[in-house]
């Protein structure tokens, strides 16, 4: 089977060198009781690429993302991260592996400031103990300065300096989405999972968000896997696209290949059954 082992990577249309396989999904099936959410899907995510998962409502995209993030354990099939087979994991173990995500419905702490929310993204990296943190003594202070600096770079990157101290609950939707992205970035992920990053945004906000995604891929070399409904955005942003429908994979390839795939066209436009 020609699934993996094509290790050399490839060069994208805009000239970026994409590395070898970062994550590989092999024959994944996910069942909830009698409901089959994902049916025998295999694909890979290469190092440094922007990979999109698209499909009509209920196609199983979010379930797939949850399998990638380790939140769901597949009923059948294996997940390989950096060529190591992955078993069931706790959320903090996922974070330590270098996988971070944002959510379809924003999941931030409303009462906390933007800065504090982003700082939570670095929780797994804080090493000093409870006591020294409470006393704000020695290593705890030094460590927080270092983390704060990293967080400030992200704030600068996402251009949210003006809301640094604003409680998240007071922000409009588009900015909350950006803060969520900031928190995910704070974990310095190798692989960033974005669940509908543009949902509910207006054209201008979408353009901003697209630019941030492209820039962070370029700037930090972060591999990105995203789910998105806006076809224009997906086709512009991503290097390769997986198309799902009713839990099955019906297409996989570059945006152009996918656009011309008859199965994909049928799934999106509907097909006459006689």
């Amino acid at each position: 089977m020609p699934v993996s082992h094509a290790e050399e990577g490839y060069v994208t249309a805009d000239g970026r060198q994409i590395g070898g396989t970062l994550m590989e999904m092999k024959n994944i099936t996910l069942r909830f009781g009698g409901v089959v959410a994902i049916k025998d899907i295999s694909f890979d995510i290469r190092d440094g690429e922007i990979r999109a998962i698209i499909g009509p409502n209920g196609a199983g995209k979010s379930s797939m993302l949850n399998v990638i993030s380790g939140f769901y354990v597949p009923t059948e099939g294996d997940v390989y991260f950096k060529k190591v087979k992955r078993g069931p994991m706790k959320p903090y173990e996922v974070a330590r592996l270098g996988i971070a995500r944002t959510f379809q419905n924003i999941a931030l702490f409303d009462g906390m400031s933007v800065l504090d929310n982003i700082m939570t993204g670095r929780l797994t990296m804080i090493k000093s103990g409870l006591l020294s943190q409470a006393l704000w003594y020695g290593s705890a202070a030094r460590e927080e300065y270092a983390h704060r600096e990293k967080v400030e770079r992200i704030i600068d990157f996402l251009e949210i300096q003006n809301i640094r101290k604003t409680p998240v609950g007071r922000l409009p939707y588009g900015l909350k989405k950006r803060v969520e992205l900031a928190r995910a970035l704070a974990a310095e992920p190798k692989l960033l999972l974005l669940d509908e990053p543009m949902a509910g945004m207006n054209v201008e906000e979408k353009e901003d968000m697209s630019r941030f995604i492209l820039d962070l891929n370029d700037e930090f070399g972060t591999t990105i896997c995203l789910i998105e409904h806006d076809m224009g955005v997906v086709m512009d942003l991503s290097d390769r696209v997986v198309v799902m429908d009713y839990g099955r994979k019906i297409g996989d390839g570059t945006p152009d290949e996918v656009r011309n795939n008859q199965d994909v066209i049928d799934a999106y436009l509907g097909v006459a059954h006689d």
Binding site: I155, R164, D215, D218, E219
Partner: protein, 654 residues
């Protein structure tokens, strides 16, 4: 020039002043910038090293004497450094408005013959690349912010930091050359070239020499006794002459610290953190701040609201007198001191004005209430009158002689006279050299004796010797019955109402005046909220009958006040309409410094003006708008036209 030769001991260029400051103030902060949430600072010694590195970098990419180096970006220390570095190389810095669309930028870059461009970020680089083929001889682009730049073709481009590194690496090769070029600079060398936004026609490049800038800085620093411990916040466009004088000329002469905000959006927070001692803002900034304070006070609790109202009344009564050092009773002084403890102190702190010694406003007339508000708090806010061609200062108000309706006495070294037609003329050390590549305009503006026409009509008050400006000389016209028509005078009166953002008055050669009104979305939106008025868009709010009613009240008040002025009584507004969109610089309706382009507005909205005069109650109109990225769209609306109450004229016994 003999006098210039005699004074060789004095520094005769900005780079020479920099060297002097390194010796005198070496360890004091020269520049600060908030980045990554922290104020980063550079001492004069450190700044000098950075600037020299940029200059060496410029030499390494082949900057020649007399080349133009354009700087496009927000206020950042690196951009100021790039300008000084350009001067060191014998080149001419040309700061550009960063919000200009590509077309406007192309004209200026082409006109000044820019061979090198320093861009703030990717957005500016994109614009320069877009117009690159139209601008002949563009050799190299340096950018400050590296973000998003990785994939660009770097054959003729690199980051400013890399340019610095390249310069430092080559300092043996270029060092002597650079020192030689610095030593060639004198009072007659061009210090900077600034493009005036121009209320009519294409922008003109105003050439200012080192003499203009340094002499003006020296005089004005002396006038307000500024020193090396003062602090300013640099936030106004770098392409504007005011910023160049305050953040460059005066800062270099007095040796004070220039603080750059983190971004435009954080300006108010950064202002509060720095607490400048010397501050300049156009009236709209003060207006905006006051509006915000008032909006927040509306939402405050009853006790706080009472405290605020009570002590503000006290402040209005005695505050300005205390500030001017006039005699004030002991009881009033104590009352004011109490107010300072409870209200003025905390309020000034919130606004970032706790430490202000000298504050200036200029560019437009400031509303009397706004001006009084700040002065009554004990903020020494003054007015000045100036223009690019004068290196800013023409007249300014001395401490203790501050009034709302005048612009002060002639600045030190500047002569001012009033022409036969009422136009104001000046000449002085800051008077510009010429308009770049435009001898006709130079000749028509500056006469052989050095007098420059300001284009403004005004007169000196006989009692005080203060200058009073009425209007633009060319806008002052005659009504059909021969009475004086001064639109700006009326517009300013209208704009003093918080709900009115802009107004354009018509009536030249006609029998009565009519006006366009732009509402202020913040103020009117808040008012609508408090009065339970629902609206979905700017357009809907602007057309709301209740809003019309409110504006109608304002217009009637303005009419009453105009009616009492015997000279301008003919300018009362008979009919008005509220525009469905804000006047915008992107649509060419305003200049980048937000001054209305009267002719363009009159041309574009000719149908609306016709409707104002033919008695119709409403009109359907289509308007083309330009979005920030240069695309165009159309908005349509049906506008109502309202009649305004006209007051009977009070004819004084002549």
């Amino acid at each position: 020039m003999p006098e210039a030769k005699a004074a060789t001991a004095e520094p005769q260029s900005i780079p020479a002043l920099l060297a002097r400051n390194v010796q005198r103030y070496g360890g004091l902060p020269a520049f600060r910038e908030k980045e990554f949430g922290i104020w980063q600072s550079w001492t004069w010694t450190q700044a000098n090293e950075e600037i020299r590195a940029i200059a060496l970098g410029f030499l390494s990419v082949g900057v020649e004497r007399g080349d133009s180096i354009a700087v496009i970006g927000r206020n950042r220390p690196r951009h100021y450094w790039a300008m000084i570095a350009a001067q060191m190389c014998g080149a001419i810095p040309v700061p550009l408005y960063q919000d200009a669309v590509a077309d406007e930028m192309a004209y200026v870059l082409e006109h000044c013959g820019a061979r090198f461009v320093v861009c703030g970020d990717q957005e500016q680089v994109d614009k320069v690349i877009e117009i690159g083929d139209r601008v002949q001889g563009l050799k190299h682009i340096a950018y400050t912010d590296k973000r998003g730049m990785r994939k660009y073709d770097h054959a003729k481009m690199n980051s400013l930091a890399d340019l610095q590194a390249q310069g430092i690496a080559g300092h043996y090769r270029y060092g002597t050359e650079l020192d030689e070029r610095i030593s060639e600079l004198n009072y007659d060398t061009t210090c900077v070239m600034l493009y005036t936004s121009g209320t009519t026609g294409k922008p003109k490049g105003v050439v200012l020499s080192n003499r203009n800038i340094i002499e003006t800085a020296k005089n004005s620093v002396g006038f307000d006794k500024l020193n090396a411990l003062d602090e300013v916040v640099a936030y106004l466009p770098m392409a504007w002459v005011g910023d160049f004088i305050f953040s460059m000329g005066q800062a270099m002469w007095a040796g004070f610290t220039v603080n750059c905000p983190e971004s435009a959006a954080t300006m108010m927070t950064d202002l509060r953190e720095i607490g400048p001692t010397y501050f300049f803002a156009p009236p709209r900034v003060f207006e905006g701040q006051l509006t915000n304070v008032m909006i927040r006070m509306e939402d405050a609790g009853r006790v706080k609201k009472w405290l605020f109202d009570h002590f503000m009344a006290v402040a209005r009564k005695v505050g300005p007198s205390i500030l001017d050092g006039k005699p004030v009773g002991v009881l009033d002084r104590m009352h004011y001191a109490l107010g300072n403890l409870f209200v003025y102190g905390p309020l000034k702190n919130t606004l970032g004005f706790s430490r202000i010694r000298v504050g200036y406003t200029a560019g437009e007339a400031i509303g009397p209430e706004i001006f009084e508000f700040y002065r009554s708090l004990g903020i020494n806010l003054k007015q000045l009158y100036g223009q690019t061609e004068a290196s800013v200062f023409i007249t300014q108000q001395p401490d203790g002689q501050v009034r709302n309706d005048t612009v002060g006495v002639p600045s030190p070294g500047v002569e001012v006279k009033i022409g036969d037609n009422g136009e104001v003329y000046y000449r002085g050390p800051g008077t510009f050299v010429e308009y770049f590549k435009n001898p006709e305009s130079t000749a028509s503006t500056k006469d052989p004796e050095g007098w420059v026409a300001t284009g403004d009509a005004g007169y000196f008050e006989p009692e005080t010797g203060h200058l009073r400006i009425i209007d633009r000389a060319k806008d002052v016209g005659k009504m059909a019955d021969g009475r004086l028509f001064a639109p700006k005078y009326v517009e300013n009166k209208l704009k003093f109402y918080p709900s009115i953002l802009e107004a354009v008055v018509f009536g030249n050669g006609r029998d009565r005046c009519a006006a366009f009104i732009n509402i202020d979305l913040t103020a009117v939106g808040n008012w609508a909220e408090r009065n339970n008025i629902a609206y979905a868009s700017y357009q809907e709010l602007a057309g709301h009958p209740k809003v019309y009613e409110m504006i109608r009240g304002h217009v009637a008040e303005v009419n009453r006040s105009i009616a009492s002025d015997p000279i301008l009584a003919g300018c009362q507004i008979h009919r008005f309409l509220i525009l469905h969109k804000e006047l915008d610089a992107d649509d060419g309706e305003m200049t980048r410094t937000r001054k209305v382009r009267r002719n363009i507005v009159a041309e574009k909205y000719a149908d609306l003006i016709a409707a104002l005069y033919d008695g119709r109650d409403s009109i359907y109109t289509e308007t083309e708008v330009t979005y920030e990225d240069g695309r165009k769209g159309k908005i349509t609306a049906t506008l109502n036209i309202a009649d305004a109450e006209v007051a009977p004229e009070q004819r004084r016994a002549a």
